[in-house]
Amino acid sequence: MLIQVVLHLTVAACAPLLVRWWGRRAFWVLALPSLGTVVWALAQTPAVVDGRGPSEMIRWAPEIGLELGFRLDTLAWLMTLVVAGIGVLVLLYCADYFEDDEPDLGRFSAHLTAFAGAMVGLVTSDNLLLLYLFWELTTVLSYLLIGHVNQDEKSRSAATQALVVTTAGGLAMLCGLVILANAAGSYELSTILAHPPSGTVVSWAVFLILLGAISKSALVPIHFWLPGAMAAPTPVSAYLHAAAMVKAGIYLVARFAPGFAEAPPWRPTILILGALTMLVGGYRALRQHDLKLLLAFGTVSQLGFLMILVGAGTREAALAGVTMLVAHALFKSGLFLTVGSIDHATGTRDLRKLSGLRRSTPLLFWSAVLCGASMAGVPPLLGFVGKEAAYTSLLYADAAWGVPLFVVVMLGSILTFAYTARFLWGAFGTIPGKEPTSVHPLHPLAVAVPVTLAAASLVAAPLSGLGEPYLDGYVDLWPAGSHPAHLGLWHGLNLVLLLSLVTLALGAVLFAWRSRVAHLQQAMPEPPSAISAYRLFMRGLDRLSLEVTGGVQRGSLPLTLGLILLVLIVLPGGSILLGGSMPASVRAFDNPAQLGVAVLATVAAVAAVRSRRRMRGVILVGVTGYAAAVLFLVHGAPDLALTQTLVETLSLVVFVLVLRRLSGRFDENRDIRHRTIRVTLGVLTGAVVTGATVVAAGARTQLPASVGWPKTAYDYGGGGNIVNVALVDIRAWDTMGEISVVLVAATGVASLVYLSSERLSATRARVRDTRSRRGEQAADTTGGWLPEGDNAPRELRSLLLEIVTRVIFHAIMVWSLFLLFVGHNQPGGGFAAGIVAGLALTVRYLAGGAGELRAALPVMPGLLLGSGLFLSAGFGVVSMLAGGDVLQTWDYDLHLPLIGELHLVTSVFFDIGVYLVVIGLVLDILRSLGSGLDAQINRAHEEVNR
């Protein structure tokens, strides 16, 4: 069954391509997975009847109980035949319904095919979480399909409405499923149903699960999304909103009924809501002018009917329920597709405009009559068989609710007959004095598919008696009642047949008196409307979000930040004051040097706050950074000290590069009141941070998480520098995320400076140019060490800097490589090495300008960033392909003659990736904030001179 699902999804993934190649004819191919599923399910019939239906179980995530568990029992077999069978017909219908130039047809076809697969998975899955997964998959696909015409605001809002309502129910259901699984001790559906748990908690779980079913199957009071969903193309309505998705709720109730129908919330919820739904849907269907809406409210009514039957929890009602389920799928999809064809042929679905279609589309008319007759419960059609069984099961039920429900169902069936007659008369009848509506010729499949469905309704009825034993596997889950129901067209002259005839007669009267009924309906007070309540609720949410946003987000950055900081001060600060316990022991410092450095850093920080000059502020902040580096060193963290020092230096360079374009002083008003607030905020935040640091450090009771690291780092990570092993192995995922952030930031810098793709391509052209020139220079060895230095403007050149650069550039690069490769065992590693290399490039840039930078590294930064991330991520994939975990490390000791032992660790490739990303970042900074700004400055100068 997994194969069937995967096949659907695979074909769905290819669907856009197929549609591009073959246009709408691609639907012929897209129907194949569903067809295959039908054939497969039919082939399994003997096994299913014997109770030996196939089952599959593939471990997926056993820790949370999520397994790929499927099984084909009688109910699943029946549902599979229905959803896949109707799926084949609807997909074929699409091949003649759409035009080749229908917008977004590729996307639509993919969604519809994937939906068929999700439905098959839903009805066959034997794992609660898997079931939920498919359940929500159908919800999301339904959202996409309803909103297919996404330029239309109405269609979008209908899609959102369906999504909001059904996912809300779905979430409730998920809670219910989890509670149920906990109570039962298993997520396996068949296990739970074999030994259903009970108790208060289980009752709640059952209620929550029913909420999911109610929302999916559009029961009152949340039925309104279904008429809204008619914004979807008609094949979607026929499939999702008649035959398949709305049946998911029915299926769920049918599935759980054998185990949980006796749970306290079950019958009150299902039977009352089902009864209400059947009546409300029928009542409203009587007054719709849009044929599709008429059918939609009819579907609501029928879903209520089905819910009563499958939820009643008796053998007879279940038999009637599954029969009606099949009958409804056949006639309702047939009717929807008929409406689709009418819409296609005439351009309207309004029954006030349609006239004379009985003569112009006779085949469609007769198939609609058959489908309609089945819906209205007229013999000799399958709908009649189902309704006879339903009447029997309710009228003779061994329970007090039997007769009242029978009355409801009979009233509902009278309404059903009346709105069916109205549908047929409205769609195909002739309006006196009105010209027959002009009809475009229909493609063959647009007629053939409804006719097939109508024929199935007709043929299945006399055969239903023969088919009954095939359903035993499901209905035998209950004991037989005192008055058994059977399928068939003729059970002799009895009370039920009489009541059926009365139903038809009263329905006919209701139709004949349609004017009077209409006036009566108008005179009746409008019932409270569920959709208005929904909209009121959603508007309330909008209102709430508006008030909260308007109250909190005033648009002022300092105010927003201040609000966040205030939360920090009040909540953690308050809890420190109220409940923070002071540490058992404190000390002033570990080392007197800490005190000196701390004083220095404090002075620098306060001075930085008071500084009015930009550059002074930058340097003072830099002092605190270097101070932090010293503190790292004293603490025993040489890697941090090294990296911090290097980053601090590079930051200074970056600041200088940008601040040369800005004014020398901070231009800000010096409002005393604001300053007081800011300083108060700062003091309080600082106090909270100190307090939190002390309390947190003192509250520690556990050993560090890294207790075993020295050994694992050496034995598994293959390195002696534990911090580096942590970065490239133990916590490599973190590092991967981090270099992605670096890449994003670098890209952001470039995009903020270059702004237009022309400037970027100009830069790229210059880089390419330099690269080819470098090639020639290398060939005739005339390049020298500062090959482009002579091209720099004379006034910008510094002899001292040029000579120093010539001397130290290559030494720094060698040191950077040394740091990179030694980093696994000694302080260093990809980050530090990358920044060192970046500083070497910075020196080249400062000495020789933009041209020299290009000569030093004639590539675009994107190449380094991209290949670096590729190398790191690729290493993860390679180690996975090699059979290990993602980012697992291997090390090899090579015994080389003469050289001795060479220790190779695979994670060095990961570190090289980090190295390249960091160099890419620096190159990007130098090229954007350095040469990019140089060019802007030059342009500004030229404009001034001109």
Binding site: A518, V658, L659, L662, T693, A697, W709, G748
Partner: protein, 154 residues
């Protein structure tokens, strides 16, 4: 665990000074504030990460016997985190400076002005104006229409 008060106090001072700079309207000042704060937080990491020790470097001989904490090596895990933070800060610095430069290009100032969209939403909230809501219309679109069906109940 013994808590180092000097470092804890320094962390508070750096973060506090950083906050004063952060809540100003100049982008560059705010960036300097972020840098001060991140230095402060990194120092706070030193305090909570446990006792100082030797550098977390081991060899084949010491790998099995190395202990973390007083008398042994310093805890390597927080160091890996801080190292990551330092490099991210560099990337953030570059990005914020590019932003400041862009702001300067556009308005010869790095002052952050109030967000107009936020102001607009604030005004809407003050006026209780729900014009932006998709649910302004509470009407039931499928209500039974008042107009009677033409031609005999249609």
């Amino acid at each position: 665990m013994t808590v180092n008060l000097t470092l804890a106090a320094l962390a508070g001072v750096l973060v506090g000074c950083g906050v004063v700079l952060l809540v100003s309207r100049s982008l560059v000042r705010a960036l300097l504030g972020v840098l001060l704060m991140s230095n402060g937080v990194n120092v706070a990491f030193l305090v909570v990460s446990g006792d100082p020790g030797r550098a977390p470097l081991v060899t084949k001989e010491t790998a099995d016997t190395a202990v973390i904490g007083a008398g042994g090596i310093s805890d390597p895990l927080p160091q890996a985190m801080v190292l990551t933070a330092i490099v991210i800060t560099l990337a953030v610095t570059a990005f914020a400076l590019a932003l400041a430069h862009r702001s300067w290009q556009v308005s010869t100032s790095d002052i952050v002005t109030d967000d107009t969209e936020d102001t607009r939403i604030g005004d809407l909230a003050a006026k209780n104006d729900l014009a932006d809501s998709d649910y302004g219309d509470l009407e039931d679109p499928y209500a039974l229409s008042d107009e009677p069906d033409p031609e005999g109940g249609r």
